[in-house]
Symmetry: C2
């Protein structure tokens, strides 16, 4: 049996966007089989040259987030350009009528304007702050509390995340909102006006995970724990030759295996008794983690990275050597992973690029390369 079509085949999405969240949403919809056209001003949006770049200045960033999309450019300040985009959204058949943008407040592509041309239109506007004012991942994150609990406990100042996690989550929420709204439209014929602030993405996740409930219910928020995992037993250990491993013992079995491996079962049992603790409970393992860390660390410190890796391989405890991006590539993780395939990206080169992480019936959907800016602009 041949695999069925990708789940979002037949959809046509017009994306007027820039930066991360909105282009990632379009990329994800494209991976799921939608036909996505990114529209940019002539010469490109503010992100067209964004770093990282190749040695000759071509944007790895731009091509990475626009894979598999058509590229149309237009003078978005002119009536002609605006009318063209409106028609692209409105006249795109039963699977069309979908606008994705992070450029809110433009009346010519507002939900009101577009729904007058096509009543069942689905629009998604990604905003910055909840109140509609501009905000980006790093400002939203600074305002929310995570930088205050990130980083070494000896470091008093806030530490930003490196991954723009809120942009990523926001882009995935946007793709989900479109996919869900399409399902409803196909059932009932109604469109949707969807607004999605980056700040609300962050607040919603922080609420679901309890970070914003603790101050309300317990009277105080969480403190930083450095590289120790909050609420269970997990931390990092250095080896004799400068390697470092992240270790997580989520279950009593993981923890017993870690003690057996490191040979400190008797010492830990003595401490457990002396403290009146029960290390079968993850909260007790967390509460007394500094003592446990101290008992376990010497085993790692006395061994080479290779010996530690070999020993952990045979244990149930969850573990991972810290690696750099260079090492991930050099270790061959990409070439052995079926999600990755060779992509020939004009201007950048040929490299291994990832498809959708969710495999459908064993298949990782991939897209082609990014098109050159404006390559699909209709000729007059």
């Amino acid at each position: 049996m041949t695999n069925p079509a990708p789940p979002l085949a037949g959809l046509h999405v017009v994306e007027v966007s820039s930066f991360i969240a909105s282009p990632l949403a379009g990329l994800t919809l494209s991976q799921l089989g939608a036909d996505v056209t990114r529209v940019d001003p002539i010469g490109g949006a503010a992100d067209v040259h964004r770093w990282p770049v190749t040695a000759d200045g071509k944007s790895i960033y731009w091509t990475g987030l626009n894979k598999g999309k058509r590229s149309v450019t237009a003078d978005l300040r002119s009536d002609d350009g605006q009318r063209m985009v409106q028609r692209m959204v409105a006249d795109s058949g039963p699977g069309g009528g979908i606008l994705l943008t992070n450029q809110a407040g433009r009346s010519w592509m507002s939900h009101e304007t577009l729904s007058a041309l096509r009543p069942d239109v689905i629009t998604v506007e990604i905003l910055g702050r909840t109140d509609g004012t501009p905000g980006v991942d790093y400002t939203v994150n600074a305002g929310l509390g995570f930088p205050q609990i990130t980083g070494p406990t000896s470091h008093a100042d806030p530490v930003n995340h490196a991954l723009p996690a809120w942009d990523v989550a926001c882009g995935l929420y946007a793709a989900l909102a479109i996919s869900s709204a399409v399902r409803r439209r196909e059932q009932s014929g109604v469109g949707a006006q969807i607004t999605l602030p980056l700040e609300d993405t962050a607040l919603s996740i922080a609420s679901a995970l309890g970070y914003l409930t603790e101050p309300q219910v317990n009277g105080h928020g969480r403190s930083g724990t450095g590289n120790d995992v909050y609420g269970t037993y997990g931390t990092d250990f250095a080896t004799a030759d400068g390697g470092r491993f992240m270790i997580v013992a989520l279950t009593p079995r993981h923890f017993r295996d870690l003690l057996e491996l490191t040979g400190v079962g008797d010492a830990v049992a003595a401490v457990e008794k002396a403290l009146g603790a029960d290390f079968g409970r993850e909260d007790d393992r967390f509460t007394h983690r500094t003592v446990l860390n101290g008992l376990i660390a010497p085993w790692f410190a006395a061994r080479s990275t290779a010996d530690v890796a070999a020993a952990l391989e045979k244990s149930s405890v969850l573990s991972q050597r810290y690696r750099t991006f260079d090492e991930v590539v050099a270790d061959g993780d990409l070439s052995t992973n079926p999600m990755f395939s060779a992509l020939d990206q004009p201007g950048i080169g040929t490299f291994l690029a990832a498809g959708l992480p969710a495999a459908f019936d064993g298949e990782h959907y991939t897209t082609g390369p990014a098109r050159a800016l404006g390559a699909d602009t209709p000729r007059k």
Copy 2:
């Protein structure tokens, strides 16, 4: 006109899950209108008492991620318990036949077993590592490279993220996979066997954002930049009374306004000329950021947090004072945000909880509280 039904109304999802990614997927589907039943072993899964907890030990974490779901418990090692779950998935009407789980490898709820009972079943299995072995957010992250570029540049050791960003992304991909697969099933009648490794989630995002392309194309990955934003001008500054602000100047206009605000336009112009730089380009602003930081910092250091906040309020530059979770709550952000509403969660208390960050036609979908463990278990 009354608003139409939520976009995933009519769906029935059975969730056999624990920890973060899978429960977050179920919560998100529930927010979008699906009827979600979480199934746990009798007494609860490994996450039933997980921190954060209230003063009397009730899990804020568990209730936060299971809001709006039914709760069924069963002896999942018994034939009866397994058969009950199979029937819940198979006999759930046209919107049913959906299993979401992070507990792969159980043949009694495998796609093969369930599709024999219901050919159009949609199953999503969230895995740890790509090869199917266990992995959690903190081990996946350690292996990928982000901790090596997080944290103060003066700190050589890797820094874990505080937010389990890969769990969050994985949960949202899972919800999107289900929503998309449902759309296809309603179009064509086919189900889907979906597998989604947490590690592939992280690798796919790292690939799309260029982190894994740089080593392949440029021969080396990215280095850490501390709290400076990579590739543009953004950093943090301390005020006279110990406050700290994140500042991002994405566009030439933002940067000009920042120079005007801080009164260093002439000095920056002199440096620009001396260095042969063009600070109208974000790559030049990034390359010479240490010099720019040094010129701009004294303005912040000489002023109180309140004065800095008032001045930034009038500027176009993107800015945000770093806050703790306690301050976010104390500042009233939740009570003025329409995404939040009062939730009376038995065992926890009444507090403001977030709904879905994407508002549909102005409405933030919310769910009720989490049910008590096993409250919806069918009586024999």
